[in-house]
Symmetry: C3
Subunit: 427 residues, 3 copies
């Protein structure tokens, strides 16, 4: 685990600012979130009207909420949206009635196995209202009448998402995507938003080869909307990474793309193994985050997903226990560090062609080889050059070379640079 | 092991009826056998004349036998065909002489390592006569003269085999083949005949997708004759299974086709593993039963072989100890059950194409997806639908989906049915 | 380990004769070496002029040396070329001066970790002079002036290499290569020269299928020169083997070609495994001996390398301890035996086509199959015939057959011969 560093603290502070907001797949909570991210990163914010057809889906009505509660006969709010945005079922339709507990009960969602935690529940596409509360709270409610109010609006409006582009030397794109639709849940996905934001800032300083496009969009419908509106751009997408659950103290987990052998898959597996961090590589499944959409068979993009403890893999997942105490600056910094390492490899991972492929070129007269013969220790840099020459047949990438040679990628990339400067290989 | 069931008892009863008959590669024993099978299943019986050219072979003369014995000076039959059809060397030419034991001895076949058992021996293509007997019997024979008689006929006639077809929805065929040429040997292959017979009856009730063709034919020359006479049909054969040694108490053994990755190979491996039965999967070898012919390189059909203890794998193999006590109703029922499971998978194993491959189709509005979001438990049926959608690219079969998803084939097939009914995939 | 045999003694005697000569990449030491080999084997000796362009390289000036020493004030030779050719830095330019030890010291090469051994060092492409000596010798030198003399010539001349061809039935070639440029080092590579020489003599008696070309050439520049001068021949090279470090008592090591699955790779792996010798199979690396040149990506020939303890794998490597006591007749004989076995397989390893691929051909009427049926023991020769028939589809080699069948290559090859003689398969 990387030490707590300045980036870790900065990302944690961003998570703290975003935590109180009530986000959903549409509405002002998303806009406020993007507004804060926009202070760190110039964003191109898109507003897509309700009713817009996006692939097989339709942009839903926009949901906004001002207040929601269940109050007892004395007017005490026993469940209160103002205490946590989790208390209201996401996309609850308005309600303003008094009813006995028995009638209210089917609208109350709890987690019996964690009686002090509040679950996160939504009903985006089925008109419904409801409250989420601790089992303990529910158990303590006496029978009797309760005032039930959800002061929300479900009306034509927009779906909001944002993009930030780090321009590269080529128009080929790498997508980094994170979902911005979850309410007060710290790891899922404010941590992902924070890592994406700081990754984008770092990349801007690197003069990268690829063009990197960061997407901040609501889950599922947001990715689908982006895909529907960017049909002509898809062919330029070479690689992608979905960031989610990026801040808990668990080990890193990389979930492969549907292809299973996409370059991003090989890069993440290599970087995680080379870093000697404990980690897990998982096969693709069509469940999880927006890799589901990017990897749907029509697109089948080389998009994987990086998490710490993954989707549904921790009891705090989708509950009030995924709070500010569940993520740490150190974990955020560690996730960011791996992203930097991975994109550092991905961005330099090229296929070269040996321009002198018949026999070895004479490296000595070009100052690339030790002049004293007979010694048995070939230096690593020299071995890297021989390996790059050997495998630069237009088929092998530098990552292939590094893995076959058992040499660090950086050493191989430096050898390729030296050979390129000497005119011995071309990209 | 499946419990002793009604099908097990019925199959065992069929084995009992067939056991006494003296079968060979031609002759009335085969006809009588097919006559009994025909009581269970309508058969199309073919008679192919002696001398017919079939691939590289020629249909041999027909062999029929009425009696055979070795009698001592007192007229006692010390070896007697009437006691067991195994006592005569298959295809023995007629003989009727008296000779001293020393002259007779080269014509006597025993099993010294199992002195009380009678071996099964034949000489189809080399004119020869002989007797098979227990080593104990031979050891007890005093020197002296013996009357030796084989009352057989080897003459122009026919080779007999039968077919039974279960019509399917498509003309593509699945072949199920068993050999009917072995005399009084219960496991090899009366058990195979009994399982094939009851499998055909069961399939007829299933309205199967494929057309299933059952072959009851003498080993080697029978399969070769069928292949020679069905050249135009071969292209329609999609899959096949040879049944042999199907009734002993040992674990099931599946021997792969020559291809090694034919669909039937994958289906049997999947079904046997999923059933959690102890079993063994063996690689193809060009020895064994009629898979040798179906898998010869010119045909190279996807035909595997299902046995319990396989070819030559038990000491009773090709001896008088392969008797009615060696097979059990439970083992027969278990073999039949696996056949049903396997053809249940094979028959439904289709490639689909996702008609909405760009992003996920909105399953919710089609009633195929839970409306309440946020919960971490995706139901198996829902996961199966997502997997079918993800892998329905025209390349993956439902079995591929089941194996990659780690879900039961039945669940995946039901998901495919639901998606097909919703118009989301097509075959 | 094979017993000490006549070939082992003969090879060891050749190593002894060659040991005292001072070889380098050019010069009279190479010529003398080839002269001695030529007594065993007719050689075609090539002389390539200094300055000739060969691929990316240029043939260097020819180096010859008559004497070299460091002498103390009393005229005692404290380092003396006449004692060992290793004492002079290979390709040392002439020098004839008196200088204090401090000035001499940078020109002295030692092995501090093995203080009694003399290292082997060269400077082919950078003008330099120097001496190699034991660390003990250096430590014992008092300060003071030393007479330093290298009586060498570096002048336009030739690079010398030799070929020996064993003609085959087809013009397709197998290259066997060994380097002849190392001075008094027994294992590296006089052992390789000795094994190659005796392998060539043995092959000449075999009437081989392939044409075998033996190269005796200086390392790197020699192979590059041969490749440059034989551009039109390269397409005929089917397989190759580089012999080096062939005489030490360590286990055999085969280093695969760059392709990793070339036929020579499969043959060596098969033969070494089948022989049950302890051995190691290594992946290709672009370092080592002249496989570096043959496997450069433009040529990418199926050339592997056979050693005992490989390149730089023993402390004696490139030191005076690689002497006549380091190699043994038994090890030389064992290496030769494996080469014979390997070329015995390679030379017979053909793809056949079954001319009767539909069903099995009737082997019995061709006398190739046991006439008595029913026995459970199929003889190995019979199984080999069935396997060859099954896999002779133009894709599988006899080695593929042997490995899939789990049968000895010789049995399979004999079966193929029998089937070929019967007109059932064709090459």
């Amino acid at each position: 685990m990387a030490p707590v560093t300045a980036p870790g603290e900065a990302m944690y502070a961003l998570v703290e600012r975003l935590y109180p907001l009530c986000r959903s797949i549409t509405g002002d909570g998303v806009r406020a979130t993007l507004g804060i991210v926009g202070e760190y990163l110039p964003l191109d914010v898109h507003e897509v009207p309700t009713g817009t057809q996006v692939l097989d889906w339709t942009v839903p009505q926009e949901w906004n909420i001002r207040d929601a509660y269940v109050a007892d006969a004395d007017g005490n709010r026993v469940v209160d949206f103002r205490a946590s945005s989790l208390h209201v079922l996401g996309y609850s339709v308005p309600v303003d009635r008094t009813m006995p507990l028995a009638e209210l009960r089917p609208h109350l969602h709890t987690l019996p196995e964690h009686p002090s935690w509040v679950p996160y529940r939504t009903s985006y596409y089925q008109p419904e209202w409801g409250f989420c509360l601790a089992q303990e709270t529910l158990d303590a409610l006496p029978d009797g009448d309760y005032a039930v109010r959800v002061d929300s609006t479900l009306a034509d409006g927009h779906l909001t998402y944002a993009e930030h582009v780090v321009p590269g030397q080529v128009p080929d794109e790498v997508i980094v995507s994170c979902h911005v639709c979850h309410p007060s849940l710290a790891n899922d996905n404010l941590a992902g938003i924070a890592v994406a934001t700081h990754l984008a800032r770092w990349l801007a300083d690197q003069r990268p080869y690829y063009t990197y496009r960061f997407l901040f969009a609501p889950g599922t419908i947001g990715a689908i909307t982006w895909l529907a509106r960017n049909a002509e751009r898809i062919d330029r997408v070479r690689h992608g990474l979905v960031l989610a659950c990026a801040g808990d103290p668990g080990q890193l987990t990389y979930k492969k793309s549907r292809r299973g052998d996409a370059e991003i898959d090989r890069v993440l597996a290599h970087v995680l193994a080379a870093s000697e961090r404990p980690h897990e590589i998982r096969e693709f499944t069509p469940y999880g985050y927006d890799e589901r959409q990017f990897c749907s068979p029509g697109f089948d993009l080389g998009v994987g997903s990086l998490s710490r403890t993954p989707y549904a893999g921790y009891p705090e997942y989708h509950t009030s226990a995924d709070d500010l105490g569940f993520v740490t600056p150190a974990a955020l910094a560690d996730t960011l560090a791996v992203c930097r390492e991975a994109f550092g490899v991905l961005d330099r991972n090229r296929r070269y062609v040996n321009l002198s492929p018949y026999g070895e070129p004479q490296l000595g007269r070009r100052g690339l080889y030790d002049s004293l013969g007979g010694r048995s220790d070939a230096k690593e840099a020299q071995m890297a050059m021989l390996w790059v020459l050997s495998l630069s047949d237009g088929e092998h990438t530098l990552l292939d070379v590094a893995e076959r040679a058992g040499l660090p990628f950086d050493t191989v990339a430096a050898a390729a640079d030296a050979l390129h400067d000497a005119g011995l290989i071309k990209a």
